[in-house]
Amino acid sequence: MPYTLIDHTADLGIRVWAGGLRELFEEAAAALFDLITDRGRVADTAVRALAVQGRDRPDLMVNWLRELLYLWNGDQLLVARTRVDTLDETRLAARVWAAGYDPRRHELRREIKAVTYHGIAVGPADEGWEAVVIFDV
């Protein structure tokens, strides 16, 4: 797996690795939705374009996941996969494949209330990039 769960007394976090930065953002998105549901059962029927900005890479990561989480919490769309098309330190553009929530098809694993800034880290790691993100659950 390109990510692991990390322990935080009150909450839940992920540590994600990828060879490239764009992949890092895509893997973080996948990890977030793996926490919410079985992504294997989510069809990629709807495509949405997202453009996100941030003050720096960590801020961009939080804002990216925040926008994706809103697709779920606000629009009841479950994300199957994402493709980051362009990325620099403060902005990204991506396509998001998602499906509307169907209680007969999709099991919900847990509620993720929010993506926090707590302990947020995005930086180079051995042979690639690493990010740490804590969610409020």
Binding site: T9, A10, Y70, G74, L108, R110, Y117, H118
Partner: protein
């Protein structure tokens, strides 16, 4: 970080480095042993570095590692020269607890306990993705945000006197729906009247000990009496309000000169437009939470009436009190002998106003404000009362619960291969739940011993023990 012992229940974290005031932690020596408390203590120190903080950065005995503020943290800032921090309130704005008493005794309950818990589970929407029984249009939603519990009671969800027994009457006046984003509103529209998931619950219990007869009489509590407790908050609406303003304040951090030691501690000068907008939006979310708990209690009342075939008068299911434990409020407190207007942040901490305080409803004024402290689902919960010492030392604040001891992952590991519901049933506690991992994550061992937490606030004098509740049935999201 070296702690200095002030009393057996209170420790000082001396001001060092960027800290503007010392930290003060309410705990026993045992609770502070080992390095489990290193992270939350660092958070106490971080909060102490925020501009305008008054007297001390406080932590209650149920303190644990939060994000930004520690959970169990209390901090007051000068209203003119201080800051307001959405992270110091938390995502679940006005997460809180309410307790209703009944005319039933445990013997009345036992034969119908199973039916009762099944009916409660069926009638009260809970769990991830649940939607509420109340459908709101945009105009009606604005009224919920402005009026809180008052709106709910006007709609027939409860009685006028419930309002007297709710902190701030269940309505903060400085709520402006224009400060709440479309996103927050959208999330709120479909969730009113839902319990939520995680640590939110509904619990049928019985008063199994009374420690202070006089205060118990004032609160209408007697040994053997059946009670209903519920724990819920502002649902997605509150989470979104917090998230929206964290994002805006982070964008503005460089301009306002407020770059905190931790991004989650981002804040704004109370006098700034952003903080004013956040304050109005937060008050909306608080009102939403009160309306939510009022509706939930109304549904529970109906279930009790149905199951016991009793009318409202015979059942006498009266709201004892409703407290809020995630909030920032403008309050006046005496600091160094002078009255000061402050912004008191309570994140996982309960208001604990003293006897005689005008914010406490007249009926309870002789005893002080009731404080509701839920424990884990297998142990017990407490009813405490506010004290003068809390006014002097903690801006009228006390603890809010047991506090987590194990992370959710560690709890699940400890629960592997065990039937938690059966273990609870063996102890006479019936449980109904929705989420697959909820029971393991929320099992009794995941929490500190609530009795130890309560001994600390009682021993330190920042709250007084009144009564203890034993759980009989629990509904979890």
């Amino acid at each position: 970080m070296e702690l200095r012992k002030l009393s057996p229940y209170c420790w000082e974290l001396p001001a060092e480095g960027r800290m503007r005031v010392p930290g003060r932690v309410y705990a026993t020596e045992e609770m502070l042993r080992g390095d489990r408390q290193r992270e939350p203590l660092r958070q106490v120190a971080n909060v102490a570095s925020l501009p305008g903080i008054v007297k001390a950065s406080l932590a209650m005995p149920d303190m644990h590692w939060g994000y930004g503020f520690p959970i169990g943290g209390v901090a007051a800032f000068d209203w003119e020269e201080g800051i307001l921090s959405p992270g110091g309130v938390g995502y679940d704005i006005n997460c809180g607890v309410r307790l209703a008493t009944t005319a039933l005794g445990e013997d009345d309950l036992r034969p119908r306990l199973e039916t009762l818990v099944d009916e409660l589970y069926r009638s009260i929407p809970s769990g991830v993705g649940s939607t509420g029984s109340v459908k709101l249009g945009g105009k009606e939603a604005r009224r919920v945000l402005q009026q809180g519990s008052r709106w709910a009671v006007a709609q027939g969800f409860g009685e006028e006197r419930d309002l007297l027994h709710t902190e701030d009457g269940g309505c903060l006046p400085e709520a402006d729906p224009d400060a709440v984003s479309e996103r927050a509103l959208k999330r709120g529209l479909r969730q009113l009247g839902t319990l939520g998931s995680g640590n939110h619950f509904l619990e049928v219990g019985v008063v199994d000990a009374v420690f202070d007869e006089t205060a118990a009489r004032v609160f209408g509590l007697a040994e053997g009496q059946v009670t209903l407790m519920l724990h819920s908050g502002s649902r997605g609406l509150g989470y979104q309000v917090c998230d929206d303003f964290l994002a805006v304040m982070n964008r503005e951090a460089a301009r306002s000169g407020l770059v905190p030691p931790d991004r989650q501690l981002v804040c704004a000068w109370i006098s700034s437009d952003i903080a004013r907008w956040y304050y109005r939006a937060m008050n909306c979310a608080a009102n939403y939470a009160w309306a939510n708990r009022q509706i939930l209690m109304h549904h529970a009342r109906r279930v009790f009436q149905r199951v016991f075939g009793a009318g409202p008068r015979d059942l006498a299911m009266d709201l004892l009190y409703d407290v809020c434990h995630n909030i920032a409020k403008r309050e006046t407190h005496v600091v160094d002998g002078r009255e000061k207007v402050l912004c008191v942040h309570r994140k996982g901490a309960t208001r604990a106003f003293a006897p005689g305080h005008e914010a406490v409803c007249e009926a309870f004024r002789p005893a002080g404000q009731p404080i509701l402290i839920p424990g884990d689902m297998g142990t017990c919960s407490y009813i405490l009362a506010g004290t003068r010492k809390a006014m002097e030392e903690t801006f009228g604040s006390s603890c809010h619960g047991a506090g987590r001891k194990l992370s959710r992952k560690a709890a699940k590991r400890a629960g592997r291969g065990r039937a938690i519901y059966r273990e609870l049933e063996d102890r006479g506690i019936l449980v109904r739940w929705t989420g697959r991992s909820t029971l393991a994550e929320e099992m009794p061992e995941a929490y500190k011993d609530v009795s130890e937490v309560v001994e600390v606030v009682h021993g330190a004098g920042i709250a007084r023990k009144v009564a203890r509740l034993r759980p009989l049935a629990v509904v979890k999201g």
